[in-house]
């Protein structure tokens, strides 16, 4: 299969980045300076965090980092359980998503970084640095335990190992880690920036696309550039580039909205069971719980009366907080749904009483 547009037109150098150019220049300075700190790259999804990280790596080590291979690494936990985790690595860096290991993320973080940091770069030629880079994605999903472990590892192996952490939200990251990293904020591109990039890509692809459609796409994606490009390509594949066409909405979003409709339609035990199945399906297909929660709340809040909104949100934040304490997301989501149903039903009854 040919490359998706997203991958095909991904900038490879700091100097070819399309937006946040000032920041790109500064990152270049940082790399040249020689004393490279740990980085914490944060920003919403689709804003280009990973792209920037790859550019930085290329700037640091040259084209060698583009020879990627993926590998499964097995880590043994103290209780002798084997955890397999997927990594992407080159000769100079390794990329892992430690939250894939669930509650064993601490072990993965400690073990892997230790292993990597202890193996020194063998031949130090002129272009090479004396450190390797470990890219950790989704650090905001790390447990507090793992974060403390990370901080310790960071200090211990700072001589021959640099970390680049990647996160969407800074809130769950402990201050000790934040203060040890140089924060790099990657805000979402503006609508104009997205439009420019799309039209550039379309030109290269020899696709004539009406300006109004470009604008429509850019506005619909909430600053998620990757999604904008995907939508654009999807439109192209469907061979429908009419300016007034409907844009494809992701099925999971529609699915969540329907779930919300089920909840408000009738409050019954059968419906709770249906909703549970829906939530399971969403979780199983990998939609992150925070997105499910956010979409669900938005859909529900827009459907219900202003009077009960504060209470609904109060409950939502309580259950979401609990959800983040553990791994059984479904329990708390369902508790919220049930709570909402009861609030909603009671409110309806109150309204009827007044008549």
């Amino acid at each position: 299969m040919s490359l998706l547009w997203v991958d095909k037109y991904r900038p490879k150098d700091l100097s070819t980045l399309d937006y946040h150019t000032q920041q790109a220049q500064e990152l270049k300075n940082l790399v040249e300076h020689g004393d490279f700190p740990h980085l914490l790259v944060y920003g919403p999804s689709g804003a280009g965090k990973k792209t920037r990280i790859m550019c930085i790596l290329k700037e640091l080590f040259g084209t060698g980092v583009e020879r990627l291979k993926s590998e499964n690494i097995t880590v043994t936990t103290p209780s002798n359980k084997k955890v397999e985790i997927m990594t992407i690595n080159s000769n100079y860096h390794i990329e892992i998503n430690p939250s894939d290991a669930g509650i064993y993320d601490r072990v993965v973080v400690m073990d892997l970084i230790k292993k990597i940091a202890q193996s020194q770069q063998i031949a130090i030629t002129n272009n090479q640095r004396e450190f390797k880079v470990v890219v950790l994605t989704e650090v905001d999903n790390l447990t507090k335990d793992a974060q403390h472990a990370l901080r310790r590892t960071m200090e211990k192996y700072s001589r021959n190992c640099r970390l680049i952490l990647c996160a969407t939200s800074l809130s769950p990251i402990i201050p000790a880690i934040q203060s040890r990293c140089l924060p790099i904020r990657v805000p979402a591109p503006t609508i104009e920036e997205i439009s420019t990039i799309i039209s550039k890509i379309c030109k290269k692809e020899d696709t004539a696309i009406p300006a109004t459609l470009i604008e429509k796409i850019s506005k619909s994606v909430n600053g998620n550039l990757r999604r904008a490009i995907l939508i654009c390509e999807a439109c192209k594949v469907e061979n429908n580039l009419q300016p007034n066409r409907e844009l494809p909405e992701p099925d999971w979003k529609v699915f969540i909205k329907q779930t919300a409709t089920i909840i408000t339609h009738r409050q019954s035990i059968e419906n709770i069971m249906v909703v549970r199945e829906h939530l399971y399906e969403l979780l199983a297909s990998g939609i992150p719980p925070e997105i499910i929660f956010k979409e669900l709340i938005t859909a529900l809040v827009l459907k219900c009366d202003k009077q009960i909104i504060p209470q609904v949100l109060q409950e939502a934040s309580t259950y979401e907080y609990r959800m983040w304490q553990g791994n059984k997301h479904i329990v708390h989501m369902e508790a919220f749904v049930v709570k909402f149903m009861c609030l909603y039903q009671r409110h309806l009854k109150d309204l009827l009483k007044d008549f």
Binding site: Q22, Q23, E26, L27, N29, L30, E32, H33, G34, D35, P37, Y42, G43, P44, A47, D140, N141, R151, R152, E155, K156, T168, S169, L170, S171, P172, Q178, S179, L182, P183, I184, R185, V186, P187, A188, N222, G223, E290, F293, K294, I297, T298, V301, L302, K306, I309, P310, Q311, L313, Q314, A316, S317, T318, E320, Y321, M323, W324, Q325, C342, R346
Partner: protein, 377 residues
């Protein structure tokens, strides 16, 4: 860390003993916080009590066990390191044992490592012939992160080794140190630094390191780092690294490095909370805010300032909003629920400010009928 020294020697750093020995390249890579640590106790400013006691000790008085506490970046580590350097001169490396929270510090380590260290005998003269106390110093950084069991284990060790070893405990919150330990130490409180000292210090560093920065921007940097010298110096170095030689540091750089949220965002959010705005509007705003990726914790901090400063909200309501703010902020820090928590806060603030208290009380009572039997939250 915090180096509040007025360094007379700053002009010629190569002449200072600690840097001259190391190879040139290494000096370059040394973090500035380390490079500009005060070299003598006299260089430490502001913490007068501690300094005067330590000066006495250097002149020959007996050194007590010490406990330094105070906010981060106020010079606790710097003070004790400088004192040790003056006391022991070149021997200083062998005479101190520094353990910080990143080392394993269970009971085992307290017992083994400190014991072995304190059992080494110390000579009472220095290599250069000067006299020095026949003591060793154990520095326990971030002592409040130690478990209570480990602290208890330390208690005994402290007494037993009193002939040869002195302990210096550094912590942020003295309340987390167990009573028996604090009573064995002379306590010194380290006050947050006056911003003018920090500013002065940064200006000196800028001069030596050829950093180009406007005084206004430097002022902002000092203000945003809130009296934390370490943070200010680290931020300055990061800015300088980002900019490279020869270009001016901009306000944006400072904001980025210190992850400051521009006040216009917080302002409009606060406005949104105060008036009965539509829920759609709030959702849209929070979406936009999330796209900017500002750290939400900072937003909460700002909101707190706004809340405290707003004069047209009476104190009872303020306390209610403040409680909600605390809850939202805490929950945000525990997971990835920024969106829900911000929305929750906004809607509640609205409700508190627009609905009369009596009605809300009634509603709460009504709901209490249905809330859980266990009253859990």
């Amino acid at each position: 860390m915090q180096a509040f020294l007025k360094m007379g020697k700053l002009g010629e750093p190569s002449a200072s003993p600690s840097t001259s020995g190391a190879p040139k390249k290494k000096t370059k890579n040394l973090p500035w916080v380390e490079k500009y640590r005060p070299k003598t106790v006299e260089d430490v400013v502001e913490q007068r009590e501690a300094v005067s006691v330590l000066q006495q000790c250097i002149l020959g008085a007996d050194l007590p066990n010490l406990l330094f506490y105070g906010p981060p970046g106020t010079g606790k580590t710097s003070t004790i390191l400088a004192a040790a350097r003056q006391l022991f001169g070149d021997l200083y490396k062998e005479r101190i044992l520094e353990l910080n929270a990143s080392d394993e510090r269970g009971i085992q380590v307290i017992r083994e490592k400190i014991k072995t260290f304190s059992q080494l005998t110390a000579n009472s003269s220095r290599a250069d012939g000067k006299l020095c106390p026949a003591l060793k110093i154990v520095i326990l950084d971030e002592a409040d992160a130690m478990t209570h069991a480990a602290q208890a284990a330390l208690r005994r060790t402290m007494e037993k080794e009193t002939k040869t070893t002195r302990f210096c405990l550094l912590c942020n919150y003295v309340s987390r140190i167990i009573e028996p330990l604090t009573s064995r130490c002379t306590k010194f409180r380290f006050k947050p630094l006056n911003q003018s000292f920090v500013l002065e210090r940064l200006q000196e560093i800028c001069q030596v390191e050829d950093v180009l920065i406007n005084d206004d921007i430097l002022n902002v940097l000092v203000k945003e780092s809130g009296g934390d010298m370490r943070r200010a110096i680290t931020a300055l170095q990061s800015c300088a690294n980002l900019k490279g030689k020869g270009s001016h540091i901009t306000l944006e750089n400072v904001y980025e490095v210190l992850t400051v949220v521009p006040s216009k965002w917080v302002n409009s959010f606060w406005d949104l909370c105060k008036k009965p705005s539509d829920i759609k509007e709030i959702i849209q705003f929070i979406d936009d805010l999330e796209q900017q990726a500002y750290p939400i914790q900072k937003v909460y901090e700002h909101l707190n300032d706004f809340l405290m400063d707003s004069e047209n909200i009476d104190d009872r309501l303020k306390s209610e909003i403040g409680e909600k703010l605390a809850e939202s902020s805490f929950r945000s820090s525990c997971g990835r629920g920024d969106f829900t928590n911000l929305l929750d806060f906004a809607v509640h603030t609205q409700e508190i400010l627009t609905e009369p208290l009596e009605r809300r009380r009634m509603q709460a009572l009504e709901n209490a009928k249905f809330t859980t039997i266990l009253g859990l939250s």
